[in-house]
Symmetry: C2
Subunit: 330 residues, 2 copies
DNA sequence: CTGAAAGCGCTTACAG
DNA sequence: CTGAAAGCGCTTACAG
């Protein structure tokens, strides 16, 4: 049988309340009493049962992270940051692979609440707005990532995709490029990256040729690369709104015997592909997903701890200069 | 205020015990009573508080997975399998990135136990045997992966590394190879893979030239590849005990203008590198890490559910034939 | 500074 | 088949 607070109280000759105060570092305990109780706790090897304390305090010190799949490297980075920050606060992190199905999300959320999980971080691109709004109305602590639900009173950890696009533009401008291609698909976040890029280029009175990709993976990139090569007035620089698009473009361009970065500079977006995994490390806009996770967990913790108003944190992207960009050769 | 079992009992005109029986699908409830209670539960939107029930049943329906880091793709696969199986059983999965520090492991374990986590899966190469033995003695439900503690009474989900090495040998033998190189470092699992390979080759009265790598990453592979090229009697086939070693060897061989698989067949081990990520997909022995995770969770669940004796499951590796192996050209 | 008592929301023998 | 009561192991006003 495990030793309980009751055993400690009896052994130390004090009441349950006093032992509880010592455990919880209440300042209202005489120093000599504290020492005596502390000594008994150690001697008996008492470990407070947090399930019992959760029943009264309504705090399990557990948070959950909803992601499409932990095998997605971006999700893994987020999970790393969340778990890391949670652990610092004596929290533990429950991972839920919810896929893309809103029903699965709702099912998970329901069980998490019944298990007394203190708060949830949503990092799924396709959650059910109604679910989030409902939780927000019942003032259940939440942090949203990856997508927003404007009407909800929740914490938010957001990326600045527009700033990322602008970073890509600045880098290429600084290298001296004057003709640009933009490859992106229609997804909203990607459009935001594109907007930041285009605005920055236009501010210099330069122009951007847009190419719409039919997706955001390597295949779509290959296709875009082929189209790029057929352009009459081939630009010297291209910004792809995802790394996979960029990789596809590079592969297509290589096939046609062009050299990167001599004939074409390429900037991607993401930063989750290890530079060592590529022959030529990709210049890209790095999304600090781990930092996002950390911020998300911190926001949730603050809400839990101080019950403070939901806040919003914007995590800035960074430029990583690999080997796929250089000065234009013409 | 949330609705409790008490509200349901009063509204339905029955006792707490009866409501509890209905929730827990006890067969000893009159059908008409069950229906009435069920109707009340739905009308009031009652959701049982599992923290309260955990306090009496000693079951939180939470399990934990200890891994070095979730950003390691092998760990992510394991976590995927564990979480997937856990979810099927109405369990949730707590992820703990314990790194390589046994102290961190002990700290996590301590807090997990206090939080009432039902069982733990150890998937870390460097855990503290003493900790595992201690938990095992206190008959705390455990599943071990990645490494064994022979004396412990625990579940085990193991890989058959020797069989994997044998698979590699069989594949190369079937292709007609007669001269072999083995590249491995000294780590115990890798030695096991090597043993399976060598024994299978020797059973055919053929011989293997061993090359010791100073590590198991790409750099070590590059180095081994260079040494391979300097051999007087160059073999036609190489088995590397990790995929990264194999990739390094391939890169080195490519540099020297040799063609793979014409001049050299290469088999790796792991299977976590996406075939699409490589110019030439690597032939490799696939460790089904997700299946390992599933098995580990299932074993833990069985212990939890039926209190049955610890068991052991061996997950078999599989051969994946990519483009780096072929018939020998001489 | 300390203790007695009630309470958190369930489950579980036990009795009927 | 059903209910009254005790109990799981803590915390928290309240009183002193």
């Amino acid at each position: 049988m495990r030793v309980t607070i009751y055993d400690v109280a009896r052994d130390a000759g004090v009441s349950l309340a006093t032992v509880s105060r010592v455990i919880n570092h209440s300042p209202h305990v005489k120093e000599s009493t504290r020492r005596r109780v502390q000594e008994t706790i150690e001697r008996l090897g008492f470990q407070p049962n947090l399930v019992a304390s959760a029943l009264t305090t309504k705090r399990t010190r557990l948070m959950a992270l909803l992601i499409p799949s932990i095998t997605n490297p971006a999700c893994a980075q987020v999970a790393w940051g969340v778990e890391e920050t949670a652990a610092e606060m004596d929290y533990n992190c429950i991972i839920c692979n919810v896929g893309a199905d809103p029903k699965r999300q709702a099912h998970y959320v329901n069980i998490l609440i019944r298990k007394g999980i203190d708060g949830i971080i949503f990092s799924t691109p396709s959650y059910d707005d109604g679910l989030v709004l409902d939780l927000s109305r019942r003032s259940y602590p939440l942090t949203l990532m990856a997508r927003d639900v404007p009407a909800a009173q929740v914490n938010r950890a957001l990326t600045d995709d527009k700033a990322g696009g602008a970073l890509a533009a600045q880098h290429l401008l600084e290298l001296g490029h004057t003709s640009f291609l933009l490859v992106t698909s229609k997804e909203e976040v990607l459009q935001e990256r594109a907007r930041g890029f285009v605005e920055t280029i236009r501010a210099q009175n330069l122009d951007v040729i847009p190419v719409e990709a039919k997706g955001s993976d390597i295949t779509a990139g290959l296709d875009a690369g082929v189209r790029l090569l057929s352009l009459a007035n081939r630009p010297t620089a291209v910004f792809a709104t995802t790394d996979l698009l960029a990789i596809g473009i590079i592969a297509a361009v290589h096939c046609m015997g062009l050299d990167i970065p001599r004939d074409l500079s390429v900037v991607g977006y993401g930063g989750l592909i290890e530079p060592e995994a590529m022959q030529l490390p990709l210049t890209t806009i790095v999304q600090p997903m781990r930092d996002m996770g950390k911020a998300a967990a911190q926001l949730l913790f603050d809400t839990l701890q101080e019950g403070r108003e939901p806040r919003q944190v914007v995590v800035e992207p960074k430029l990583y200069i690999g080997g796929t960009t250089g000065n234009p050769s013409r």
